[in-house]
Symmetry: D2
Subunit: 335 residues, 4 copies
Amino acid sequence: MIIILKKDFEERQMTNLTDWLKSNRLDVHVSKGVNQTILGLVGDTSTVDIDLIRGLDIVEDVKRIQEPFKNANRKFHPADTIVELPGGIKIGGGNFQFMAGPCSVESVEQICLIARKVKESGANILRGGAFKPRTSPYAFQGLRDQGIEFLLEAKRQTGLLLVTEIMDASQLPLFKEIDIIQVGARNMQNFELLKELSHLRKPILLKRGLANTLEELLMSAEYLLAGGNEQVILCERGIRTFETATRNTLDISAVPMLKFMSHLPVIVDPSHATGIARLVKPLSLASAAAGADGLIIEVHNNPPCALCDGKQSLTFETFNEVATAVRNILPHCCR
Amino acid sequence: MIIILKKDFEERQMTNLTDWLKSNRLDVHVSKGVNQTILGLVGDTSTVDIDLIRGLDIVEDVKRIQEPFKNANRKFHPADTIVELPGGIKIGGGNFQFMAGPCSVESVEQICLIARKVKESGANILRGGAFKPRTSPYAFQGLRDQGIEFLLEAKRQTGLLLVTEIMDASQLPLFKEIDIIQVGARNMQNFELLKELSHLRKPILLKRGLANTLEELLMSAEYLLAGGNEQVILCERGIRTFETATRNTLDISAVPMLKFMSHLPVIVDPSHATGIARLVKPLSLASAAAGADGLIIEVHNNPPCALCDGKQSLTFETFNEVATAVRNILPHCCR
Amino acid sequence: MIIILKKDFEERQMTNLTDWLKSNRLDVHVSKGVNQTILGLVGDTSTVDIDLIRGLDIVEDVKRIQEPFKNANRKFHPADTIVELPGGIKIGGGNFQFMAGPCSVESVEQICLIARKVKESGANILRGGAFKPRTSPYAFQGLRDQGIEFLLEAKRQTGLLLVTEIMDASQLPLFKEIDIIQVGARNMQNFELLKELSHLRKPILLKRGLANTLEELLMSAEYLLAGGNEQVILCERGIRTFETATRNTLDISAVPMLKFMSHLPVIVDPSHATGIARLVKPLSLASAAAGADGLIIEVHNNPPCALCDGKQSLTFETFNEVATAVRNILPHCCR
Amino acid sequence: MIIILKKDFEERQMTNLTDWLKSNRLDVHVSKGVNQTILGLVGDTSTVDIDLIRGLDIVEDVKRIQEPFKNANRKFHPADTIVELPGGIKIGGGNFQFMAGPCSVESVEQICLIARKVKESGANILRGGAFKPRTSPYAFQGLRDQGIEFLLEAKRQTGLLLVTEIMDASQLPLFKEIDIIQVGARNMQNFELLKELSHLRKPILLKRGLANTLEELLMSAEYLLAGGNEQVILCERGIRTFETATRNTLDISAVPMLKFMSHLPVIVDPSHATGIARLVKPLSLASAAAGADGLIIEVHNNPPCALCDGKQSLTFETFNEVATAVRNILPHCCR
């Protein structure tokens, strides 16, 4: 961390600051120039509150050099984290997984049918929304408790693992038999929820917020890791930009950048990233090519009638085609 | 709402669609062209699930004409909503209020001192964070329960009303004597929280999310209004753009646009919008000039030592100067 | 095109409008509702000035259904455009090309060395900047005329085709022997330049502007096509977003979307998209996987000493590795 | 400027680097830590090519502390620049001006009528487009040479000064009697054009690009200033964001930030910033309140029939109302 001091500070103020920094177990190197004095901080600065220092009277600016996340940082944990799921299913460290299923759970018949079909095409994990965050209070809000029950029935029938979204910590008792708890994009910075989930020892699928930087995503992962839950899967699902041809803009660079910055597995959601079914295949191939550890894809028995997001859901046939194409490209991908 | 059908649909499919639309109490007008058939829907389309229709097999595209929010819509409620607070304090409909105070409550002495000072400068409402959403798990997270107690003590000593942020519905019991409950930018689309707050009969200060459109802000307000809580104050606090000279970009057009779209009062937070104390005065004047109904400003007894956001806090003297300048400009502002 | 009329218009105004529209060879279908009257326009609306209609007194809003570009539109030209270059080199319609070379031409030795090396690795086209758009007036502005001469020497020595950037129409006489003229991102909407280039019968590489939509990119291509130059190659090179971990955000969805919207070939510049050499390989693979028709990659004999953009340039070895990996993945890609 | 070296560099490499930096008249201060070595550069670093250093083998990162613009920097020119125009008209340093007129010059009668009317309402400068940058090749492109002639006729009849946009340096001979040459948003980084204009001794109105930072705007101003043209007026006209309720997002913070960073006058274009006539009044008041030195506003004799941008043009009556309101608020504004 670099601290640039204002011109005309008093010697005493600088001494106070350097003493305080040293008491935080940091080495301080002072460079005095004619126009500027700069303090170079050496040591573990990840827990230093940068806003606090920036607010000091004698400080003109502070620039981080070290990243503010430590547990999620690849520099301190060079080896890939591999999330291990029941039945020997793994994500990360060279293990690629398909998660597939409908946007919303609609009925027990629907979810069980979809489960069987996506399993046939090679998915090991079933997705399906029971609690649905919807922009409009008038839109379908999910089957909630009943949706969870239907998912569990699909698990019993097919043996697929389950991933589904939590919207509030009060719903946690319902998630006991859910294998991966999803934190949605809108809740990526719901810190109270993250703190609760950090006490679990269960994999969390953490989706990037629509307007959140990669560093912020890793800081939210850090909430989970700092609380002791090390089973975190990151998910790129599109960010909000000025472009309107697609619902969001898939930030494909996030895949190799996150894997460079962090040891956590990274998957991609090509369905939400653009909202257009036709783009799921090229973006799935691109995500695999860029080094993703998995895909989470919306599949529906009857996309045009899906209670939400029908436009972006694949049919069984198309999902099978996508999964096959991805498996074929995997040996030639970046990893 | 306009539905554009794909070429080559079957007559039977269109009949099914128009019948279904009519059963939703909508009039359907069909325009058949050589290349395109268009359905014009007339009636209350605000509760129609646009994604559902977009997903239908014969539909190429759907375009809204009517806004999807109804309770928040000025078209149906032409008169300004005036939020009425204890002691005859009002916001909206020509009533302008200053909310001021520290980013975080730090001690009972601090918050009481700041309360007295901002009251002297004309603020009727004290702000101060007890529960703090922080990007880093290592940053100060607020005094929480104790912070609320200290705020209540400041209220007892000064008679100021209180506004403070809630982060989770489980904290609600602590907010009984809080006059305005703030929903922060990161929780604007925490729909479970919004549903809980919609059952209250207490003013809600709803901050715009960093990457949320004005329509989405009004849809979140609609969650509150649809649940029966009509006391909603909207707050523009800067959006996330590519510009890095300021922390966020204050969307000043949001003030007149929101007042055109909706009857709800609109205030501005110039402190968070830019993160730079020096900009608070020009942006406060600009916000008033554009027609805002109030300002929420960070003020601290000792800004350089503030436990968070010191860089953007005003001193007592500067806040007094800003409040005076705003009062002087008010008679010449847009309203 | 859909025209939504304001309430309370006069019958005579509507008759004037529909008469005028019909005189533009458009069929007009009127849907009258209780609250709204809607005009559906059928025919070729791509040349209708939407702003003109939007400004009319009785018009509330206008919504396009047809795209405003015609020559670039795949709907009217279903077959892929294949750009044919000297020596039988083709781009598009299943033909994939590597363009490679330094950001700036620095000397005749440098550019000839790089040319030989990238040819060995499979590139058919040499890139290299002679005229350099630089944010700072104090940064290196390119060798200009001399840079073009050095490029031509490299062409003589290696037989590689040349692509280089033009910054102003007055430079055109220097571009006679250049095989592909590049219009840079900052000039994508330099309409005077586009008009000049539309009179040529030489391939144009049109880069997407940092803040331009796909529709705007196609409208700029339309300037070229409408003037008679049908040899246009589109290039995605990253857009500007809030994310700062990469210099720009590569919009990978642009590849399949542009190919869906248009018949023109689409290539990707992974070097400028992120500014980070380490990301060029994963993004090159991702671009090919998503269906791109080629790549334009920065390669330098000594990246750390490049006069500009060294950080994003590949060494000869790395470029060879990337080119090999891309060739291996091509048979499994989306096309 | 701060240079952070990679771990494990060789001593000889660092000596080479520091020697080279010193030969550029910079003082170099070295801070060696256990994990990191940092070089602090003191002196005039504005002409140092940051990309060059960033590309060096032993450099991990470079961070600027000093701004890269010097002539435009308020630190080195504390006093406001006042642009002086014929007839004693001034902009900046407390002098506020209205520029008003149509988007496009349509006929000599139209422009002369508008000129008389905006003069009556207090404008000293007439705007009007002769050369029009239009996204679509099928939209009206301006009257070009003839448009300039009509503007000059309006100047003869009313004595108003003229501001109009140049699109290419080849048009310069037509601009001899134009008082202020406008560089449009799309040409803000047309560096060849900027270099040509830097040789003039005539005021330039430099509009901010849709996706350009304030620093980039000042770097483009630096092109003009470095070439010797000191008469530069900056113009904020809205940036591109995800928000679609307005055409662009007016970055009101740009006004006080630019005036803090630079000594150049700053005006605002509220018409293009949002594209909505109804918002021009509140945004004009807000701009003045925030400290702008002037406004450039679209006014048309018959807005619904304007050949372009009718939706955002004011009538004579509305412009008179806006100008009066702004004059009334000016004494209470930030300056």
